[in-house]
Amino acid sequence: MSARDRILGNVRSALGRAEPDDKTRAAYDARFDAHTRNTVPARASVPHAALIERFIAEAHLVGATTARLDRLDDVPAAVASYLRDKNLPARIRVAPALQSMSWGEQPVEVGYGKAEPSDTATLTRALAGVAETGTLLLTSGPQTPTTLNFLPDANLVVLTETDIVGAYEDGWDRVRALGATPRAVNFVTGPSRTADIAQELILGAHGPIDLHILVLKN
């Protein structure tokens, strides 16, 4: 008998369950269409303007920084000034999703694609922001490579106000709306941290030391 059959057999006999028939299996699979929610905290069900404020406040609480911009064209200038203020090298790896953006005269060296070991700063686009805990939803794919989220010292993320939702469940509905599930969905709440050395909280363990969210009005 295969290990699979043994384990499933052990589980069934422990629970006193017979091997399910096709009807039981079909009824079981059908339950997944309902997307039934459990209790969602009330803080996630407030008017959209309040959700935006909550998202930003929560992001600050976990050590992220934010800038509010009117539109995508404002991003390059905001990136250039961020890199300058942080004393980071004037170069950035950008997600292909943002390739249409014009960098004009900005003194920043721009490369596109997945992150490379030498990249100190990256810029990507979030699928959504979850207000309840200031959490970003980042998805893998050719337009938004996953390594951008983890390799650099500073990770900059573009998030549109209309993509700010209340609860994790709302965020996951956005993922479902993509159709196929991406290989990776990253819920990111603040920059990397550790307390493994004598319980002292230190930012920037292995992932980004800085997380900067550019919140766009449009």
Binding site: T39, W172, P182, F187, T189, R193, D196, A198, H206
Partner: protein, 470 residues
């Protein structure tokens, strides 16, 4: 991992006399408890969410076979593979054969308690594959050649000074006592390892039946680098990690970090579904879930089934006075603290882990804070009873329990004897008010005096007051 749980008494004794351990543990009782309290109080729905999380896991376990089947089907649909393993030995062989398929030299590892359970590091080393722990706490104890002493803070038993010594010795850099500098040092040391590794191994906090996804919850980002950069991602997961849907996972996530570290949400919650898609620029080309039973199915349908709800948050040990006193290593196996005292006997056998369910004051704080409301004291009591029934306790202890049971079943005799004993102790000790030593009570009096009884018994006082409290 090889157990030393049978040596708990000696281990605990050593721990109590280890001054550096005392210093390291002194923060556990304060930090974790306060932070959890604040996080729980800040979310009005917290208790409701706990109740729902318990129900979700109960429902899931009752249909575990259906969830496992669907999970497997969905993993395959997304280009991944599921390897079913009945026990630790099978799991180790499976991991090794995947590593060998690409001639792996080094393997990076995210934190996995199941990895400790199956002893994967030692096994890979014995087969000339170098495992590199990337979680900072795990990295520290790998340098020190020690097992973790806590399930979410593996190096919590180490002082900063001990870590500085370890880094100086292994990194060959000037010694630093600055926390940020030490973290930066480890970050720099591990950077290249992520790129060089042929395989990345992580654990799983959840397996989601809906899509066949595995989920890790971390703060450092090491787990994500571990699973994104090498060509192969191996997930070590035991069968009870299953949740049906994302909605269900969201509910449990809301109690997980709050119970563990007092964060509202851990920094990185990563949902992995299958291997790199054809058009993806990054991510592993192969995705393997090693699905391990290792004693779990045997707990289903028994009084131990409640243990399978555990989400490994560590709240029970963070709130345990015994854990605060002796630390995690004294328990001698993968899972320390109250969850270990309840779970280790199931994994190791009650004879090996006999002392662990006795290492409790039954104060009940563990059950009070457990987000999954696992009745830990009840399960410890179950093991104590089992140990008595199996006749594996020492003769003196068994005889003492028998003697007490005889009197407890004869209330009249019990009262007569306690009255006589109290009177005698009062007569002997009233003058000084306390005893420095007493026959049969050296376990107590070695460390402190025993107050002399006032003369009356509880029963006598109860009868006199007729149940009034004042």
């Amino acid at each position: 991992m090889k157990s030393t749980a049978h040596d708990f008494k000696e281990n605990a004794h050593k721990a109590l006399h280890d001054t550096e351990l005392r210093e390291a543990l002194s923060v556990v009782g304060k930090n974790f408890i306060l932070k959890r309290r604040l996080a729980a109080d800040a979310l009005p729905e917290f208790e409701t969410l706990r109740d729902e999380a318990v129900e979700i896991k109960k429902r899931t376990l009752n249909e575990l076979d259906l969830h496992l089947e669907r999970f497997e089907r969905k993993v395959i649909e997304h280009g991944g593979q599921v390897h079913w393993c009945i026990d630790a030995a099978a799991a180790r062989e499976t991991v090794l054969s995947i590593c060998r398929s690409v001639n792996a030299k080094t393997v990076t590892k995210g934190k996995s308690m199941l990895g400790e359970e199956i002893g994967i590091n030692g096994f890979l080393e014995a087969n000339n594959i170098r495992p590199i722990e990337t979680d900072l706490g795990e990295y520290i104890i790998q340098l020190a050649d020690e097992p973790p002493s806590h399930i979410i803070a593996p190096a919590v038993h180490k002082t900063k000074s001990q870590i500085a010594d370890l880094f100086e010795k292994h990194h060959k850099l000037p010694r630093s006592m600055d926390g940020e500098a030490l973290v930066a040092e480890a970050r720099a040391m591990l950077r290249q390892a992520y790129f060089d590794a042929d395989v990345g191994i992580t654990g799983a906090n959840f397996l989601v039946a809906e899509t066949g996804s595995s989920v890790i919850v971390t703060n450092e980002g090491n787990g994500d680098l571990t699973q994104t950069l090498p060509q192969i991602h191996i997930v070590l997961a035991s069968i009870e990690k299953m949740v049906p849907t994302f909605e269900d996972m969201a509910t449990i996530l809301r109690v997980l970090a709050r119970s563990a570290t007092g964060q509202q949400m851990s920094v990185y919650t990563t949902v992995s579904t299958g291997a790199r898609r054809a058009e993806d620029p990054d991510g592993p080309e192969q995705y393997h879930v090693v699905m391990i039973d290792q004693g779990r199915s045997a707990m289903l349908g028994t009084e131990l089934q409640d243990l399978l709800r555990c989400i490994r948050c560590g709240a029970c040990m963070n709130h345990c006075p015994i854990y605060h006193a002796v630390g995690g290593h004294a328990y001698g196996y993968v899972y320390p603290g109250p969850i270990g005292a309840a779970l280790d006997p199931a994994l190791l056998g009650v004879a090996e882990a006999l002392h662990l369910p006795n290492a409790s004051t039954f104060c009940g704080r563990c059950e009070e804070v457990c987000p999954m409301r696992i009745p830990l004291p009840k399960i410890m009591r179950h093991w104590r009873e089992r140990a008595f029934e199996d006749g594996i306790q020492p003769v003196v202890q068994r005889s003492a329990i028998r003697l007490w049971a005889f009197f407890a079943r004869n209330p009249l005799l019990y009262r007569l004897n306690t009255r006589a004993a109290m009177w005698a102790l009062h007569a002997l000790g009233a003058a000084r008010g306390r005893f420095k030593s007493l026959p049969f009570a050296s376990g107590w009096t070695a460390g402190r005096d025993l107050p002399a009884p006032q003369g009356g018994t509880f029963h006598a006082q109860w009868a006199a007051k007729k149940g009034r409290t004042k």
